[in-house]
Symmetry: C2
């Protein structure tokens, strides 16, 4: 039996795709790019590499039923739901406890649920290298995405010394993680060839990450050991989570562990990758019309260029005499926002949530 | 019994208010400004001046039932429906025949169905002057709207000599009608004090307009005499219209009569008037928010100024980071168009009508 596992982190709220995405129906449950929900595509991307009984999904209770339904190819007990959000370190810890309980020798890949990767074979090959590295040495492996442009929307990984080679791929020590840079800095990163995008994909053994959590975030680790001993005592995971989860520190795995640990390494990707974090990013995956408008569903642009107009099939969005606008209709709400202000959508959604009149539309 | 009649012309398609207005539900059937449909407001504006049994509405067969329903205060037989559009001269002719058949001594006011006039008393007073002029002399009276700005969207009436006074108001001969001017010319018109806006409101006796139609558009007049003799023979109006209407010339009353006749006079208005011909014009009648946004129904602007956002109460339009946009949601369609391109909406609606996918949305 394979000792390799995948854990797909599917807890995001997907505010940036409102109104198509909603609180209970975020981006990973939608076919934002492609015909299936992003989460289903993420599961299927592992076909032939990780057996389905070894694929877990971490989500939250609001989304539990929807996730189980989208992941009907997985055993339903592999969908693990947090009672509340406690940031990514807690989610990683939860995954570690659950999988270690099943298989103390397990190695696992932590994967985001909503990215676009067309080259599944290339993806699996890089993951295989990362697994081999993690199984060979007690290291925390991050996948370093080869940057294709001086993007300012991602964090970067600065690689250090070469450690060893696997399958012709170099494993580098990580010198440091850096926050989203400005454009000038991003250009320097790109030119240097020493920086990768941080896609939030990690591979490690359960043992190595457990040790790292114990070292770098001991209070969180104490909570996790409570979970672990509860499971060993035969108690239900749900009941244990209700008890323990509220006590866990809210901290990201990057801050808690990756930026502190000395045993972080990276393997460079050679597959296509896009986190499609916004409507303009989505539009890149569709063929535009002759005027660069991206039209989905009942959508029409009369005298305008570069618009993204996304509707249902039974509601016409008619856009007239304007350029570079995002117009998205979904059910009981329609969004209108310039493409170059797409980052404001998140703030808009927050405002909706604060207003009793609109709260139900999240 | 009063010999004064009013004929409200309610045949417009209201493309400029799509998607709120539809083919079968144009502007005059909607409460575009105010709480009641514009047509109902137009009828009620005559309260105490023209008895309701003397108020007629000319519409078309598609809108017949909706008009009867909106005009429930009128005898249903006063709603006369053209079997097809034949421009305004035919509509005036039809009204003349129908009213002359009832009362050969009638005088009548022809009124648009969808204008905004708040000062009903002032309106009635000017109409009364116009009726007196038309009853005193065989003249075709137009109401000249006092211009308040150098508007380029209206035709103008250039007044000529003073003819006589009624109730302290001067009746002028009309020197000429002029088409929509450019801004420079419009400014000259405004400065001269000799020009009025042509609001398409006319007052005349049935006898005088019949004679004018006979003189200036004899072929149309022949069709009208057929209608008249058919009515006199006791045949049904509907049947007669089916026979005669398709044969009538398509020509406007302005071209056919007003610009040619020598007996056209004008009386200057002193009431407020707005034809609210576009969404930006509508917005002038509503109080904006602190950022000059006009919001109706479930509408929200986050970081934007001067937008017109009109929705139903159960569909949120959320506009973010953009200025001076018109966004209108109605049922199965939403329009997005910059305010300064509002005149393009008509062309958009034409395109929708030409496309089998969208035709049903008109």
């Amino acid at each position: 039996m394979s000792k390799r596992y995948a854990v797909i982190m599917a807890g995001g709220r997907g505010e940036r795709f409102w109104p198509r995405s909603r609180l209970q129906h975020p981006k990973h449950l939608l076919p934002i790019v492609g015909d299936k929900p992003m989460l289903a595509q993420t599961v299927e991307r592992l076909d032939g590499f990780i057996p389905r009984e070894n694929i877990f999904v971490i989500t939250n209770r609001e989304q539990h039923d929807a996730v189980v339904s989208v992941c009907s190819m997985l055993p339903p007990e592999n969908v693990v739901s947090e009672p509340m959000g406690r940031d990514t370190a807690a989610a990683v810890g939860l995954a570690t406890v659950v999988i270690k309980h099943r298989d103390p020798q397990a190695s696992l890949a932590m994967l985001p649920a909503d990215h676009v990767i067309q080259d599944s074979k290339g993806f699996q090959s890089v993951l295989d290298t990362a697994f081999q590295a993690a199984e060979k040495e007690p290291v925390l492996v991050t996948i370093g995405i080869t940057p294709t442009e001086p993007a300012t929307g991602y964090g970067y990984i600065h690689r250090g010394d070469e450690l060893f080679d696997i399958n012709g791929r170099t494993i580098y020590r990580v010198q440091r993680f850096v926050e989203k840079p400005n454009l000038q800095t991003a250009k320097q990163y790109l030119d240097s060839g020493e920086y990768f995008w941080n896609a939030g994909m990690f591979v490690w053994t359960a043992e190595t990450i457990a040790a790292a959590l114990e070292d770098h975030t001991p209070s969180l680790y104490r909570g996790l050991t409570e979970l672990e001993s509860g499971l060993r005592a035969g108690r239900s995971l749900e009941e244990l989570l209700d008890e323990v989860y509220p006590t866990l520190d809210r901290i990201s795995i990057d801050y808690a562990v990756m930026e502190k640990a000395g045993n972080v390494v990276t393997v460079e990707s050679d597959f296509d990758w896009d986190d499609v974090g916004s409507w303009p990013a989505v539009a890149r995956h569709f063929k535009g019309d002759d005027h660069g408008n991206t039209l989905r569903g009942a959508a029409l642009v009369d005298g305008g260029e570069g618009n993204i107009v996304i509707s249902d099939k039974d509601h016409l969005l008619a856009v007239c005499g304007v350029d570079d606008l995002i117009v998205v209709h979904a059910g009981d709400a329609t969004l209108v926002c310039p493409k170059d202000k797409a980052e404001k959508i998140k703030g808009l959604v927050k405002k909706l949530g604060d207003d009793p009149r609109w709260k139900s539309l999240l």
